[in-house]
């Protein structure tokens, strides 16, 4: 049962991250995911201090809003101060992360968050925290929260597919249709932030990036259709979760590290395959 809980939680988180991450990869914003996942740390610490608990919804949203703030700040440095985009990202997220680390070490006795957890989370502890109603155990809390998030993301993709699609591939055309690129940008960023905050405990700040970027990039090497890319991404995410659990068991290492290794292996295979496969000759249209 424990194995199933861990793999299921990992798979659900990987699917959520992958679905959103596909759009980050296509929009050339992969490092924005990296930045957000680091920068939410102070938000999480402050949320802890105020609420004293891990997962109540308003606090999750509060912490996620720090992620959105990060994208606003990056945009400000990039557009208003004319700093290079990569430097804007680097300056902003390291600052917020540093503030987060200072808060963690200052409130060490009040915040139930150690530094290791910040970096690589502990999905192995997921089965220890079960939801109990009456005498019945309803499975791990983390799994419920992650599933709720996945449903939100699926609803978002279902309802917003067209808007996301057009603003991703042809923002100018979107503008001429009256579809707001700014709206879809911030909608996506809000969900990425929320996902990062929710995944944080299970997989940690940096491995969230792996789940956001690696499965979508792998899928991207196999297909050039958005819909099949999304399906493949979910598939690779689920394989990474299951495979990661077993190699972690085998080598006695961390599960989130194992998930990253499997996703890295899948990417390596896809990359080597794309090297071997001859490029199709360009055809006249």
């Amino acid at each position: 049962m424990e194995a199933i809980y861990i793999i299921a939680t990992g798979a659900v988180i990987a699917a959520s991250c992958g679905l959103l991450g596909s759009f980050l990869v296509l929009r050339k914003m992969a490092m924005m995911g990296d930045a957000i996942s680091h920068a939410v740390l102070p938000g999480i610490v402050i949320a802890f201090l105020i609420s004293g608990s891990r997962d109540n919804i308003p606090m999750l949203v509060g912490a996620a809003s720090v992620g959105v703030l990060t994208t606003v700040l990056i945009g400000l440095l990039y557009r208003k101060a004319k700093l290079n985009e990569d430097a804007s990202i680097g300056v902003t997220f390291t600052f917020l992360f540093a503030v987060g680390v200072i808060l963690v070490s200052y409130f060490a006795d009040q915040v139930d968050l150690d530094q290791d957890c910040v970096l690589y989370g502990e999905i192995a502890y997921v089965p220890l925290d079960l939801i109990k109603i009456g005498d019945r155990f309803l499975g791990p809390r983390a799994l419920w929260i992650a599933s709720g998030l996945l449903i939100v993301i699926l609803l978002f993709l279902w309802k917003g597919y067209k808007g996301l699609y057009i603003t991703t591939f042809n923002p100018d055309y979107a503008g001429s249709l009256g579809i707001s690129t700014v709206f879809w940008h911030y909608a996506l960023m809000s969900l990425v932030s929320l996902t990062t905050v929710i995944s944080f405990e299970s997989v940690g700040a940096i491995l969230v990036v792996a789940l956001l970027v690696v499965p979508p990039a792998t899928a991207y090497l196999f297909t050039h259709k958005l819909k099949s890319m999304l399906w493949l991404t979910v598939l690779f995410g689920v394989i990474s979760a299951a495979g990661g659990y077993y190699i972690a068991l085998w080598f006695d290492g961390s599960v989130s590290g194992g998930m990253t290794i499997i996703s890295g292996l899948l990417f390596t295979i896809a990359f080597l395959r794309s090297l071997i496969k001859p490029k199709p000759a360009p055809t006249a249209k």
Partner: protein
């Protein structure tokens, strides 16, 4: 109280404090110097990726040697840092994956492998692995004499190489294509630069940790870049900024021992960066905002005076009074623009108020003629020389009329032979008081 502890700090009576302070200062300098080139090459985040990618190399070196030999760990770090750079370039060059994604892939997968190995080492209880934890968050406070010595050596090496290769690095950073075309060994130079970067990161990471290492590379350059345009000044300034924040970071953790040094260095750096990006003359946000506002006001004034001129031109009488609604009928001004613009024109004595109406002053008429003339000769130029159709030229002239300087105007007029009429058959007004040359 703070002052007293600052004095105590400055006395450096505690040898440990002395060590940590000098170590962080040297670290700040060397990472700022290599960071400057990465910053200019728009590869700031590659530094972040290298910092994360060092972890598996360190873990593997530890597993193989079974000890915490610092030189072996450094060697492992160098090798895996190097592989990561190579892989980022390989993925970007050989597949349809873009640079940002390949950086994120290498960064997160290498780090994941590192974490996996680190947890294996921890679980196997392989002796004292506390040294490896330092690679994650850094432990500036536990800096030892040999670490400081390493910083000094690496720092000196970096500075020597930078001075020796300064011209080549400069060219490589600003114009790699030209560098290659002019026969510079670009691949070799890139190799040297990358090696220096990996070296600085591998050495520094034990003090500030994986994530914050990126800040030491990027942020000093962001500060320095907003104050100067010259590469040599920029590097010196960045090094200075790195040193200052290293110094004050050490002071904070001296005054409050519970405070981690690395994050405080980064916070101090970031505050310096925010101040520079907002207030630096020329490039700062305030300076930009002021320039834009000045420009907007000028454009508004010129458009308004042009409206006065057009009204006068239609009435064939420039001394008549003009009302707000006349102006609005001529051009789509908002009421705020109108009140703002009219106030500005009045203050410059370009228009003369009379109740709720205004008329052009002599100077105003001259100014109106100037703007309209620029508009019309530019339209002339577009049709005559650029062969554009008459119905396509107006929007372009609307923008350019605010930009043309007297020198360009003179050249255009000579080029076109002082035309009388514009392409729409309107008269081009000349300033009669100024002699033609």
């Amino acid at each position: 109280m703070i002052w007293n502890s600052f004095i105590e700090f400055l006395s450096f009576s505690d040898p440990n404090v002395r060590m940590v302070t000098f170590g962080t200062i040297f670290l700040g300098i060397s990472s700022a110097v290599v960071g400057s080139f990465a910053f200019l090459r728009k590869r700031a985040l590659v530094g972040d990726a290298i910092a994360h990618s060092i972890l598996p190399g360190v873990a593997i070196a530890f597993i193989f040697s079974g000890s915490k030999n610092p030189y072996l760990l450094l060697l492992g770090a160098l090798i895996s840092g190097w592989i990561s750079i190579y892989l980022i370039e390989l993925i970007t060059d050989r597949s349809k994956i873009k640079a940002d994604t390949s950086i994120a892939i290498v960064l997160s997968v290498f780090f994941g492998v590192g974490i996996f190995l680190l947890t294996i080492i921890q679980h196997s209880g392989a002796g004292n692995q506390s040294g490896l934890d330092q690679f994650l968050f850094g432990q500036a406070a536990s800096m030892r004499g040999e670490d400081v010595l390493a910083y000094v050596i690496v720092g000196a090496l970096l500075l020597i190489v930078t001075v020796l290769f300064f011209k080549s690095f400069k060219l490589l950073s600003f114009n790699p294509d030209f560098a290659a075309a002019s026969g510079l060994p670009v691949r070799f130079l890139r190799f040297v630069l990358n090696t220096l970067t990996v070296l600085a990161i591998a050495v520094g990471i034990q003090s500030v940790g994986v994530v914050l290492m990126a800040a030491l590379l990027i942020t000093p350059s962001a500060v320095a870049r907003s104050w100067t345009n010259r590469l040599s000044y920029m590097i010196v300034l960045a090094a200075l900024v790195g040193a200052i924040s290293g110094f004050f970071g050490s002071f904070v953790s001296f005054a409050a021992p519970a405070m981690p040094t690395g994050p405080w260095i980064v916070v101090i750096l970031s505050v310096l960066a925010m101040i520079s990006l907002v207030f630096a003359p020329g490039t700062g946000m305030v300076a930009r905002w002021y320039r834009q506002r000045k420009n907007r006001r000028k454009v508004l004034r010129e458009n308004l005076i042009k409206a006065f001129y057009h009204i006068g031109e239609r009435a064939e009488e420039f001394s008549e009074l003009v009302s707000l609604s006349d102006l609005q009928a001529t051009r789509d001004f908002t009421s705020r623009e109108l009140s703002n613009g009219l106030r500005q024109l009045e203050k410059r004595y370009l228009i003369i108020p009379d109740g709720n109406k205004w008329k052009l002053s002599e100077e105003g008429l001259k100014e109106g003629k100037r703007v309209v003339r620029l508009h019309r000769i530019w339209e002339m130029y577009l049709t005559e020389r650029m062969r554009l159709k008459e119905d396509h030229i107006h929007p372009n002239a609307e923008t350019i009329e605010h930009i043309i300087t007297p020198d360009i105007e003179e050249q255009l007029l000579e080029e076109l032979g002082y035309p009388e009429m514009d392409p729409h058959e309107s008269e081009i007004p000349y300033d009669k008081s100024k002699p033609r040359n």
